[in-house]
Amino acid sequence: MIRPTHPSRPGHRRIARRRGLTLVELLLAISGTVVIGAAIVAMLTSSAYATDEANDIRALVVRHKATSARLAANIRESKQVLAAGADYLVLWVADTDGDDAPSLLELRRIELDGVSDTLRIRDADPSATDVVYTLADNFALLTDALALGSDFPAIDLSEQVSALSFTLNDADPLAATLVTVRYSLTEGKLTDQGVVIARLRNAT
């Protein structure tokens, strides 16, 4: 393999003395590589985690804005609260037919579907036959029943909503003028809470 070289070449002596790596040298080299490799892997993992988290946070910023704006808009344009519970709010949007009584076409319900973690809004189908109710009706049960039929369809407002609560500024829903909504949004491993306060149109 190593051919004799010209004697005048200075490389001659070095080649003659060349030997392989000793076991200790090899082990040192391997352990050095392992340490550096581990550091690089740790660095890449943490930077990947950081970029993932930054993306989740950005997504949360946008989803918070969209969710709170839609919640506030839906509540703010409504006249009165008819019923409120842990995860639902029934609104009387407006007395459009002027009969001083809520009716099917004037109802709106904001609810959290706890199974799919989806925040939904239900409005009456405009082609449904109108039904007139009285303020004394139990709108929680009434809209529960309506939700099973086709006259009160839901549209999804926001997904991955893990908690929702409505608080009114009056024990009597009909007299309330201010609705406080608390919700939690989940994005990746992050969960962040938001608070929306909206006044109803019956506020003076």
């Binding site: 051919r3 950081a50 201010l178």
Partner: protein, 181 residues
Amino acid sequence: MRSSPPAPAAPRPHRQTRHLHAQPGFTLVEVLVASTILAFITLAVINAIAVGQQQAIAALDDGRAAALAEATLEEVLALPYADPGGDTTFGPDAGESTRADFDALDDYHGWSQAANSITDPAGVAYPSTFQDLQRSVTVVDRTVSVASLGGDHTGRAITVTVTDPGGRTVTLERFIAEPPA
């Protein structure tokens, strides 16, 4: 650093010999220079990632401050313009010690909440992520002149200021015209 190929006219090259001869390895200085460059590049990349994350967190914080300001304004606007008790001085009327007692929007004049004491209208604390913010409200008389609406209109200007721990503020102002008598 490698030797260049021999000229065509040269005798048969002793490739291995020349190769080994020309292989000097890296000197300490070369290794130090290389690792310094690598260290700077790594730091720059990590710094860029960290700054990106800080920006995202700052955007989330800004969103919270804006949401708190909006919520405060809504709360003030839910109250009537004229005080039912007939009180005309701005700020809480006699006997109104907490905001639950406020009965007109001018009662919020001078109202504020410090950090770690932010509560919703029912008195329930806001989530901990909002608690490093502070807020204050002022209500002042204001006259606005709108030529197309017949000149001067008197009313009240409500200003809500939310301040974050860095001293940055979100300010919302709303003019409420005096309702016709």
